[in-house]
Symmetry: C2
Subunit: 391 residues, 2 copies
């Protein structure tokens, strides 16, 4: 059967990344390619106990159809957290099947074919793909120290009056590890007001901070409700629970419910309940401390090894948290052949070309430090360093 595919699904070019993931799909490969949490950090005992308790206590509540907006105790807990941590008080919480679904539902509610979405110059592949499946025109704004180049952002907004959405991962960004400064956050918000765009603020990593003071999200100075803030439990509890959330102006709620009913009706109550209980009855802060401790060590180790092993002309980011580091081959080089060679040598990583809103050639390579062991970090950076020195 030769299916006549939609224009929109056809706009996603994932041939290269699929090929790379296939090449890298070998348990002996050093895993710098993906973005999996380190499995030893999953709160296995707590999750097991919470699941057993609730299935005994409220089996029907965990098995019957449930609300599209989400499990009310979890909504209340997240509402309180947004208020206590960020002073965000006026908005609603809407539970999603992972933060990925937040991007899908926002796109469904706001994007018509041809509308522009402005992204950071390197951004999270799967959410860019989500926008592509709505026929969006993606425009990247170069990243510098402290976030997007503001002049380029304003130029992009002026050049694309059909911009509906600015998509930004302000803290420990995927893929670069860059954090947007407080000043840039404010300026980006004001530009969104000036050009009447909605901001989708994707914040899955901010709890994983190794150093420095927390920075308020853009949502915290949202005067008119144009910021849709998304959080996730995938990095801080467990991805397989598929629970994320939006903090969003109530004006969008009825259409988010429509969108949710058209996609998966509601998120699994059992996994929502697990997140709620873990947040409220377990020692969440101690758990985060364990994650921060381990990822911080791995990040420092990776950076130390890069400093020792990489030639001086190879620049890289030094994130204050999160899960990713980006390094750059010399200007003008294409990192794709390098990545293929690295995989041949047993080190999985991701070429920047797959992480660009407009697609195209890139000299960047994304490395993940949450998944590999310390021994793998030392060995993998050693291999990459040797390749770079021989280049």
């Amino acid at each position: 059967m030769d299916f006549k595919l939609s224009r929109k699904i056809s706009a996603v070019d994932d041939a290269l990344i699929s090929e790379i993931f296939k090449l890298a799909d070998d348990p002996s490969m050093i895993p710098f390619g993906g973005g999996n949490p380190f499995p030893a950090l999953f709160p296995k005992a707590d999750v097991t106990k919470i699941a057993a308790d609730i299935l005994n206590k409220d089996p029907v509540g965990m098995l019957q159809y449930a609300s599209s907006e989400g499990y009310i105790p979890l909504i209340e807990t997240l509402k309180k957290r947004m208020r206590d941590k960020y002073g965000v008080d006026r908005d609603r919480i809407f539970i999603t099947t992972g933060a990925q679904q937040a991007a899908d539902l926002v796109a469904k509610c706001l994007l018509d074919e041809g509308d522009t979405v402005i992204c950071e110059g390197y951004s999270y592949m799967s959410t860019m793909d989500t926008f592509r499946t709505y026929g969006a025109h993606l425009v990247g704004v170069p990243l510098e120290e402290g976030g997007m180049d503001l002049q380029k952002l304003e130029e992009a907004l002026a050049a694309n009056p059909n911009t509906k959405l600015i998509y930004i991962i302000p803290t420990f960004q995927n893929p670069t590890g860059i954090t947007t400064s407080p000043e840039k956050r404010k300026a980006i918000y004001e530009l969104a007001v000036k050009y009447d765009a909605v901001i989708l603020e994707d914040d899955p990593y901010s709890d994983i901070r190794f150093r420095g003071e927390p920075i308020l999200p853009i949502k915290s100075f949202d005067r008119d409700g144009r910021v849709v803030y998304c959080g996730s439990f995938s990095k801080v509890i467990a991805p397989a629970l598929r629970v994320g959330f939006m903090c969003v102006n109530e004006g969008l709620i009825p259409r988010l419910i429509t969108g949710k009913q058209c996609t998966d009706i509601h998120t699994v109550p059992l996994t929502q309940h697990i997140c709620h209980e873990f947040l409220t009855s377990c020692d969440y802060d101690a758990h985060i401390e364990r994650i921060v401790g381990m990822y911080s060590e791995k990040c420092s180790l990776m950076i130390g090894e890069m400093e020792k092993n990489f030639p001086e002309n190879i620049h890289f980011t030094r994130p204050d948290g999160g899960m990713f580091i980006m390094f750059y081959l010399p200007e003008g080089m294409d990192s794709e052949p390098f990545v293929r060679k690295a995989i041949e040598n047993g080190v999985a990583c991701i070429p920047g070309s797959t992480l660009i809103p407009e697609y195209g050639v890139s000299n960047a390579v994304r490395l993940n430090f949450s998944t590999p062991t310390k021994e793998e970090i030392v060995r993998g950076i050693g291999i990459l360093g040797k390749m770079l020195r021989e280049m």
Copy 2:
């Protein structure tokens, strides 16, 4: 904030149904309106035991990111079932977050704005809404005894050369309870071949058969892979697990994976595992027998009460299984005021106008018999009967 909504989400007019669900949202209401399984039938003890066992045995597998195609043992089990039950052997299984997501992903892969989707004259509201959120043009084909009017179906296909999809619930259809005959199934398939359309065959109810021999799905005589068959565990295990599946030609798999990664990445492994274990290690057949026994009694009771209480000019369907009965006010009447009055009188039900592909006035009313108790069935039909006689 005044959000500029997409044309597509705006094409869903769920104001009436939202209002009706809000009016009917009262625990004292007799629940003929929804489509919930009867909670006493949930296999609570089995689900609790399976969840505890797997979280103890393979916690990391239940917590880490997983395959977008689904949990391999469940895929293998479903592949075998499709072969053993229906002789379907060449296709692939793709796990979805409820069968609702199957419709969403098929729409994402196949539909461009303005493409036509042909539906049964009354059809499942949420899936029609899914098509609407892709900007599809919905065309309804009148239902008669044994399924769609074939001449009208061919006329619709000829009049809409951009028909990408025929959407059909062939067995114990929601909302009418009608079952498409084997002859019509074959004819519908041949028309799909002639006009080169894909068939989306939605089959959540066929295990809940009260009488008569099972009828093979359209998928069983699919020569060229144009039938996407969807199954669900929502009605036969528990809806809150959010596990459904597609049996689909392998040509569509890469793009379904793309779509899945852009929406929720993967379905929850824990709930997939629960479905798998329940299918393979528990007595699934005995469980289905219990559901069939109870729903069959309730359906007979409801029909008996309708025969006793409804005036002779009120016609209704007599389903051989499933969860729904439809009755029709006299020709030309609008059932919406009747439904509002019924809700005032404490009986929730759904007006046909919300179940028509093109929207519009309808004399039909959908009744659900799986959720109410027997006492509620007797009392509720008594109230509706009194209203009809006084009309």
